[in-house]
């Protein structure tokens, strides 16, 4: 890694804390971003000569803050209002700042920075785009490429989203315990959403690195909120799912189902970290949806071969998840485990009542088609697969269902109308 790459990595890593601290100081996102940008430019000049500072984040906060204050002073001078008292007041403020930058502040700073992106009036994709721009520091065109829109369109979306959160009441005071928990929950949901955008797009897509970014943000939060079992659960869940990424698609980009994946290609380092985090979380005896989903992923990760999968445990975990988070999608997933344990007829009985709520859901028709096929009800299976293809979210999803259909066609060509 070159020195420049190293400095860039350090700037990216420091961004959430440094920008969060600058936002707390300036209480204005644009000014904070400008200050951080300024500090980065100075770091690129200074660090190669003087070596990286002992605490890059604190360096960026102080330099960024001073640069922005200089800017404010210059502007006020141009406006002909160079009040000496104001300037010396600002100088006084500088001294205690270094002491105030400690980890307890950082954690609320980072949380605040992420939390303002989760504004409930913003649609999910805009929350993600905003977090990628503000917290991760991706360029507008990087984000535009990931969302398959033009740079100009993404620029406009981000500007509008920023305007909206600027109008909102940004909570600057230190949150109390309940508020902190609430923010952490909202931010966790957004991070998982970000992960899923990458996960469903698959390797090789412009969104693939969303998974890495989501894991990075989760690790960062976990380091600041070390005793939160659900934070451990969320991080573990993403690590364990991401571990399978190298095996999830074949060379032609087709989806490879869990039971057909080459488990030798699963990333054992990610699995080890995920399992360690679940172990830690379990000690707290405060189960929650992320921990349960992580435990399900762990159960798959522990099976060296598909036939070693503990379906009874997975079924029980889905049952627990249904209690925490009743949702037809959870029941649909549980039915897949139930099919392994009790056969496709029982599983089909479980999902038929979900039809009214899941009729527009790709996976519902795919799973239903597979159960029907196992039961030998081929005509109904074909209808279900046809529905699934019509609802596929990605070409790979459609292609996967088409494989089932092709097999059906070979076995039993459709009758001429």
């Amino acid at each position: 890694m070159t020195e420049l790459a190293w400095i860039n990595a350090a700037l990216v890593a420091a961004r959430p804390q440094a920008l969060g601290a600058l936002l707390r100081y300036f209480r204005d996102l644009d000014l904070a971003e400008e200050a951080f940008q300024d500090a980065c430019l100075r770091a690129l000049k200074s660090w190669p000569q003087n070596g990286p500072p002992r605490d890059p984040t604190a360096w960026l906060v102080l330099v960024g803050r001073n640069a922005a204050l200089d800017g404010v002073r210059r502007r006020s001078r141009q406006d002909g209002l160079p009040s000496e008292e104001v300037i010396s007041d600002l100088d006084d403020v500088e001294t205690p700042l270094a002491e105030r930058i400690d980890d307890s502040h950082y954690r609320d700073d980072v949380l605040r920075l992420l939390f303002i992106c989760c504004h409930q009036e913003l649609p999910n994709t805009q929350q993600i785009a905003l977090a990628l721009r503000i917290v991760s520091g991706l360029s507008v065109s990087q984000i535009a490429r990931a969302f398959l829109v033009s740079d100009a369109a993404m620029e406009q979306r981000i500007t509008r989203a920023k305007a909206r959160i600027a109008k909102a009441e940004v909570p600057f005071e230190t949150p109390n315990v309940a508020e902190r928990a609430e923010r952490l929950a909202a931010v966790s949901a957004m991070i998982y959403l970000l992960f899923n955008q990458g996960y469903s797009a698959g390797d090789g897509s412009a969104r693939a690195h969303f998974c890495d970014e989501a894991i990075r943000l989760a690790r960062l939060l976990l380091r600041m909120f070390q005793t939160e079992p659900e934070m451990m659960g969320l991080t573990a869940l993403m690590l364990l799912q991401h571990a399978r990424a190298p095996a999830r698609f074949d060379a032609t980009g087709e989806i490879v189902l869990l039971e057909d994946q080459d488990r030798g290609r699963w990333d054992q380092k990610l699995i080890a970290e995920g399992l360690a985090l679940i172990d830690k979380a379990m000690r707290h005896r405060q189960p929650g949806p992320y921990q349960i989903q992580a435990a399900i992923a762990a159960s798959h990760a522990r099976a060296a071969r598909p036939d070693e999968t503990d379906w009874a445990q997975i079924d029980a975990l889905y049952a627990a998840l249904e209690r925490f988070q009743p949702s037809p999608v959870v029941t649909l997933n549980r039915a897949v485990a139930a099919a392994k344990l009790r056969g496709p007829a029982a599983a089909l009985d479980m999902i038929e009542p979900l039809a009214p709520r899941l009729s527009a859901y790709f996976h519902f028709h795919g799973v239903r088609g597979a159960f029907l096929l196992q039961l030998g009800r081929k005509a109904e299976a074909r209808t279900a697969f046809d529905r699934a293809i019509a609802l596929a979210n990605t070409p790979a999803e459609a292609a996967h269902i088409r494989l089932h259909l092709d097999r059906l066609m070979r076995e039993e060509p459709p009758k001429a109308e």
């Binding site: 890694m1 020195e3 790459a5 190293w6 990595a9 350090a10 990216v12 890593a13 420091a14 990286p52 002992r54 605490d55 890059p56 980890d103 690195h209 890495d212 990075r216 690790r219 960062l220 976990l222 380091r223 070390q226 005793t227 451990m232 991080t235 380092k269 080890a272 970290e273 360690a276 985090l277 830690k280 000690r283």
Partner: protein, 126 residues
């Protein structure tokens, strides 16, 4: 003389590396290790998971308190270590220098080993 070379770095940065960056650094470190292995100087080495995976038993009270996270909150974290068998401190520093060239940032602490037990699991070791 046995030395432990303890690797410290900012884990926020190290765990932010892309897979490619990580692999590139690991390959460079492997080249240094390879030379030491050939010279018969390479003892055990390992890389640790991030401190978010750590648990600490604190003996400040009785019974000891089990808490999440690393023992110390520091800017740089212990990421792993090497045990090497070299003639003297200058040679140990030379090894650390080579490792440092592969891996920007952070620091290496060179600590002489007082007591050394090899891997004593069944089936492990020579």
């Amino acid at each position: 003389m046995l030395y432990a070379i303890l690797c410290y770095n900012d884990e926020d940065v190290v765990w932010s590396w892309t897979k490619e960056e990580d692999e590139a650094v690991m390959a460079k470190l492997a080249a240094v290790q390879e030379r030491l292995i050939k010279a018969g100087k390479m003892g055990p080495s390992l890389r640790l998971l991030p401190t978010t995976a750590a648990t600490t038993l604190r003996k400040t009270q009785e019974p000891p308190l089990v808490i999440d996270g690393p023992f110390a909150e520091t800017k740089e974290q212990l990421l792993g270590f090497y045990v090497i068998d070299v003639a003297d401190l200058p040679e140990a520093i030379e090894v650390a220098r080579e490792l440092a060239a592969a891996n920007p940032g952070g620091a290496y602490e060179i600590r002489p080993v007082a007591v050394y037990f090899p891997d004593r699991r069944r089936g492990a070791g020579p």
